[in-house]
Point group: C2
Chain length 265, copies 2
């Protein structure tokens, strides 16, 4: 029941992979969007022969229930640096669940170029002083929360009773039993936190993702990830959610943005 | 020579369109990335039968020179709200120039839902007190600058001699002769400004775009657009550039992010 096991895939043909949606990664029966993207990305990794999803975008078309699923990958271009691919993860009836476009590369080379970082990791109490989100909790506790170890900053963890009023959620992320986090698992991390809308006092129970883009900027060092998600614009029935993920050495490892729907009424 | 003329397209078949790259929208012979995306988006608009590119992502595969080009569109799903499509704009030899994934919808409905905006348009001097970037200027003045009317905040317009030191570029954008800006022209606006890298004192002459995502949040009112582009992370040979575009009524109309390469050496 590791993340690696639950995102293991099997080839059907050169460009078609069995990518079953396993039980337990869901929110109310629908698999988490980051988990679905990780499944498709495993197939893209194989077809593109590059390990790291450097820029990857998913559009969410319909909910994904646990069960058989298939990912077809089509290679758009293989260059010196990137393999660029389309992928479709479809359900057992062949209906597309997510549509993906991504460029994979190899982020293993030493980073010796110019550096400039005008941001800092969020200041978080120790994980043990944060609030673990778990399924036994009541409140916001979908099944996926038992597959990951998510610890919210206490100030951001008082929804639904006492939301902070700020459109922000900060916290720690790791896989269970400290399973190593590869760059595919980062795609899970950027979509695993409760929505910022819960702290922004928006009158919504859920904010379905239309589209999620993640830039993986480095392979994470072992240990906890430090994560921060913020929203600046709730307009026109949409909101964006921006994520920044830092590893235990204080290095930026991923940046994400999703466009989500604010359901009406 | 309007933007509308220069992004006019002709059908070849139901899903294939002649989308010629016109002269004059280039930087050193290579068409601007936002202009290329606008061409592909015109074809997606037709196939999807929805006017507004609500979330659209392009991967840049090779430079696009002026001349014949063809865009093929494949419809992934048409739902109640969105038409989701893949598109490839290819050159006269059939080689892909950009690969696109986007969801189009109709943003014409009144926006009567919850609103929350935790940001403000950039404070800019009047357009006449800003620096017009034009091809007669010398310095940063590729041909495209004669097809648009771009006015930089004086503080952000002193590169290459005296870059501000901040990874930021702010300014006004409009089309020539006040041609109306539709939501396709916003895709041009988010990629038309000089790179933030020029003000960040990075040792680069150019920063090629790997991927650009734009969320169109509303149709712009007539008049100048107020734009701001910033970069927080230059790491691992990459940088992101985040854009926010506001219309003349002070409403957010687009949010963009691109991942760009920092060329080595």
């Amino acid at each position: 029941m590791t993340f690696a096991d639950d995102t293991a895939i099997e080839p059907r043909t050169d460009h078609s992979w069995s990518t079953p949606i396993r039980d337990g990664w869901d929110i109310g029966g629908n698999a988490n969007g980051g988990y679905l993207l990780a499944l498709a990305a495993r197939a893209m990794q194989q077809v593109g022969q590059r390990p790291d999803p450097t820029s990857i975008t998913a559009h969410y078309l319909r909910p994904g229930a646990a069960g058989e699923a298939n990912t077809t990958v089509s290679l758009v271009k293989t260059g010196r640096r990137f393999a660029t691919m389309n992928a479709t993860l479809a359900d057992v009836d062949g209906r597309p669940v997510i549509q993906v476009l991504g460029a994979f590369s190899d982020l293993g080379a030493p980073d010796d170029g110019p550096q400039r970082v005008d941001a800092a990791p969020p200041d978080l109490p120790d994980p043990d002083d944060c609030r673990r989100v778990a399924n036994t909790d009541g409140g916001f506790a979908p099944p996926i929360m038992d597959r990951i170890d998510l610890r919210l900053h206490p100030d951001d963890a008082r929804f639904p009773d006492a939301p902070s009023g700020e459109a922000r959620v900060r916290g720690w992320f790791r896989l269970l039993d400290d399973e190593p986090i590869d760059t595919i698992a980062l795609l899970l991390a950027v979509d695993a936190f409760p929505p910022t809308a819960f702290n922004a006092k928006l009158p919504v129970a859920w904010v379905p993702t239309v589209e999620l883009t993640c830039h993986v900027r480095a392979r994470p060092a072992p240990g906890w990830l430090r994560c921060e998600f913020t929203t600046r614009f709730v307009t026109g029935g949409f909101l964006e959610e921006d994520g920044v993920v830092w590893d235990s050495t204080g290095r930026l490892v991923a940046q994400s943005r999703q466009l989500a729907l604010l359901p009406r009424g």
